[in-house]
């Protein structure tokens, strides 16, 4: 009964209803839209850093992360292989790497780099390098003294494809190992820092140059889909740890490997919800004001109802129910508008490359695809609904307090 009355009431004056609805719709839309932009940015950031050689999960020697040198490498490859193939679901890819600091030099330049020995075919499937070649060719397993470098590296070292590059690094015997390579390909990456830092050679050549035998520095594992909450990764990492059952190896998920990223995600999520609140307050003033005005316009009506014997509580209930309907319609329409605008943008993404260097500093991707999270939609909806009902109590109490004589004397 209250519901039917309230529903009919809000359509008695469509103009007023539409005015209030508009405020709610714009508020909800802005929350959904801003949330989608932020989440899109976050996902893209995580995806980028995972594909920049992090992977979903990595296995290292216990000491390697503190001290990434060639001594802290892992042997017992057979055992690792077995643990990987038994504990991971089929379809999950992984690749082995040698990864050490090295010094690169040519006739003109010398600089520090990270030397990465990769299994070319497997690596292409799990990290950015598979799709990053911009000129020349990619590595093959049989390549002997071939190397691929980043675009920015090429520029910094003032060199080109087919030129020579000398690499120097410490080998397992603590001697300086050095070897000449020929540049066969150039890759590009999201950030110049990555293009300058990493250079790739085949795993076998790296192991040979550093006298590592069979051992490797890390295994990088890529789960089929990114889970930004990290639950899937944690589960898989646990199973792996159990399967390996040897505490000289350490299995870590991207959340453990990139603690800054995790902290950033938490901070920005927190900040988003604060902003939701701020937007609500801005919108709340409008809702209170308009519904208060509506109540005063209807003073005569409330007085009459009271004269007919309606109790104050019932009037409050009526007004709050009206607001409830308005809010629900507004939230739904705001969501639809939000979904539509996000869908329109995410087809092509937002191009941020004009601010490329800045984007690199903050680790923000060059292209942004907004993304709607159920969690944000729920929070936005709940914030608007709960706080909206709360602030509607003020006009509702006002309406309940009109006395019949006072109200009906008006006009």
């Amino acid at each position: 009964m209250v519901a039917i009355l309230a529903w009919r009431n809000i359509w008695r004056n469509p103009r007023r209803t539409i005015v209030i609805l508009l405020a709610v719709i714009i508020g909800v839309w802005s929350m959904i839209f801003l949330g989608a932009l932020m989440r899109g940015m976050e996902t893209e950031m995580v995806r980028n850093s995972i594909s920049t050689l992090t992977g979903s999960i990595q296995i290292h020697h216990r000491e390697y992360r503190n001290d990434p040198v060639v001594e802290n490498c892992m042997d017992g490859i057979d055992k690792l292989n077995q643990a990987l193939s038994t504990s991971l679901d089929p379809g999950i890819l992984w690749a082995k790497r040698v990864r050490v600091n090295a010094i690169a030099s040519n006739a003109r330049h010398t600089g520090g780099v990270t030397l990465v020995g990769i299994e070319p075919e497997k690596e292409a499937k799990i990290s950015f390098i598979g799709k990053a070649m911009i000129s020349g060719r990619y590595l093959t397993t049989e390549d002997k003294n071939k190397i691929i470098v980043g675009r920015a590296f090429l520029k910094k070292f003032n060199t080109k494809i087919n030129n020579k590059l000398i690499l120097m690094s410490q080998d397992t015997q603590k001697e300086i190992a050095s070897k000449a390579f020929r540049i066969v390909g150039v890759f590009s990456a999201e950030s110049e820092a990555v293009e300058k830092q990493f250079i790739f050679i085949p795993l076998l050549q790296a192991a040979k140059m550093l006298k590592m035998g069979d051992s490797i520095s890390e295994v990088s594992i890529m789960l089929s889909r990114l889970d930004i909450t990290g639950k899937k990764e944690t589960l898989a990492a646990k199973r792996l740890t159990a399967a390996i059952a040897d505490d000289t190896y350490r299995v870590e998920t991207w959340q453990q490997l990139l603690p800054m990223m995790k902290a950033y995600l938490e901070m920005s999520g927190f900040f988003l919800y604060i902003w939701y609140f701020v937007v609500f307050v801005a919108m709340g003033f409008g809702i209170v004001n308009t519904s208060l005005m509506a109540i005063f316009e209807r003073m005569r009506e409330f007085g009459l109802m009271k004269a007919l014997g309606m109790r104050p509580f019932q009037i409050i209930k009526g007004v709050v129910t009206e607001t409830f309907f308005l809010l629900v319609i507004g939230i739904l329409a705001g969501n639809i508008l939000g979904f539509l605008s996000v869908a329109a943008i995410s087809k092509n993404g937002i191009d941020l490359s004009a601010l490329a260097a800045g984007a690199q500093m903050w680790g923000i991707p060059r292209k942004l695809y907004p993304e709607i999270w159920a969690q944000d939609v729920a929070v936005a909806g709940l914030v608007v609904l709960a706080l909206g009902l709360l602030v509607s109590l003020y006009p509702a109490f006002k309406a309940a307090r009109f006395t019949p004589t006072q109200a009906m004397r008006k006009n």
Binding site: D67, G111, V278, G286
Partner: protein, 412 residues
């Protein structure tokens, strides 16, 4: 005071509740904007100052092309002359000279490729914060030639501590081999991993000897009196370059050119902030638009009466516009005052956000954030609010022109 203005002011107080709510909405939006903008600008200033203090200085004088290529042979040949010249330029706080060379740095067990920087211990202490960052051991003395300062992360990587020896091996300016043994005298921690992992410093004199630089250096690092003076000082130096012998081969990059990533990072963050503010202002504009619209519907009868006694529609429109401008001005003034007070409070106390220290450290921001109130941050946001509310009050006011006195008066 014109009659319209007087009427407008009285009109808005005829319904104090509505007016107060509208003013509060405007004041709230202005307050948030003042605070947020001050907060952002405060963080940027801290970031710039920290980066400038830790390494680059506000301005540098370098040989042309050095900024891009960092080639050993691109030097300032006669630093003494440059020093004499810099002493005459106004707006410069202090300056110092540095030289850089890429070297293989080895400890007993480890080897890394690092850039070694030669610094003038006395002058450097005034220009950069390095002296205060030494957490273990001590800072360099004036005549220390083979002593070195090393970043904490690098010392971990090299597995060395105070008083251990490092062998450096690089290429001198003339192409000869530069080799020396340095003793670690101090270990510094800036909190910026990039810096702590990649920097070794030694006395400039020792550096010049080892790398066969003679008297030459690579950079003159200059601190201006304040961030705002940088462009003026830069202009001044550029205009007078030719007074120095060999000045035509020199360039004066400022911090924005030396660290383009920092500037663009700030712009980027500012842009994303502005998107958020625009969204907020749109929401506020809508709630104000609603209020104005409803108010006009409610007062149809009143306007009808006014028209019937001869007030022209344009005059009523003017009156209504005055009303909204009055409310907006009161609102933004309140917003500016409250926002400034809140900002000033936090400007003294700082804001601590738990769990963000590690992130902030990397951008050179200490764990407390300090907003900074300025003329721009206090007025830019409220000004936008003013314009937007003004625009959103035009449409309802224009509705008045369509009113017909008789119909309007029949409206309850």
């Amino acid at each position: 005071m014109s009659i319209e203005l007087k009427m407008a002011w009285r009109n808005i107080w005829r319904n104090p509740r509505r007016t107060l709510l509208t003013i509060s909405a405007i004041a709230f939006a202005s307050m948030i904007l003042v605070f947020m903008l001050s907060f952002q600008l405060g963080c940027y200033e801290t970031m710039i100052n920290t980066s400038v203090k830790i390494s680059t200085g506000h301005l540098q004088i370098q040989a042309k092309g050095y900024l891009k290529d960092k080639k050993m042979r691109l030097v300032i040949k006669d630093p003494e002359q440059v020093a004499k010249f810099l002493d005459t330029v106004e707006g410069i706080d202090t300056y110092t000279f540095r030289a850089n060379g890429f070297s293989l740095v080895s400890s007993d067990t480890r080897t890394y490729g690092v850039v070694v920087t030669g610094i003038d211990p006395l002058k450097e202490a005034h220009v950069s914060s390095i002296k205060s960052l030494v957490r273990k051991g001590s800072y360099l003395k004036e005549d220390d030639e083979t002593a070195a300062l090393i970043g904490e992360l690098l010392s971990h990587n090299l597995k060395v501590d105070i008083n251990d020896e490092l062998t450096i091996l690089g290429q001198g300016k003339d192409g000869s081999i530069a080799a020396a043994v340095l003793t670690i005298k101090g270990i510094f921690t800036s909190g910026i991993d990039e810096f702590d992992r990649n920097v070794i410093m030694m006395g400039l004199k020792g550096f010049q000897e080892i790398f066969s630089m003679g008297k030459s250096v690579h950079e003159a690092v200059i601190t201006a009196d304040s961030l705002g003076d940088v462009s003026m000082v830069k202009q001044e130096i550029q205009n007078n370059f030719l007074k120095i012998k060999g000045g035509e081969y020199l360039a004066v990059p400022d911090w924005m050119e030396i660290m383009p990533g920092l500037l663009q990072g700030i712009q980027m963050d500012l842009v994303s902030g502005i998107i958020m503010y625009i969204i907020l202002v749109i929401v506020v504009a809508f709630s104000i638009f609603n209020t104005f619209l409803m108010a006009i519907f409610e007062r149809t009868r009143e306007f009808g009466v006014m028209m019937a006694i001869g007030t022209t529609p344009s005059r009523i429109t003017k009156l209504v516009m005055f009303e909204s401008i009055c409310m907006t001005i009161v609102g933004i003034l309140l917003g500016i005052i409250i926002g400034s007070l809140v900002t000033l409070y936090f400007q003294n106390k700082g804001i601590y956000i738990a769990g963000t220290e590690d992130i902030l450290k990397q951008y050179g921001i200490p764990d407390r954030l300090y907003p900074r109130l300025s003329l721009i941050s206090a007025t830019a946001g409220p000004l936008v609010v003013f314009v937007i509310t003004f625009v959103s009050s035009v449409f309802p006011a224009l509705k008045i022109r369509k009113l017909k006195p008789v119909e309007a008066m029949n409206n309850i």
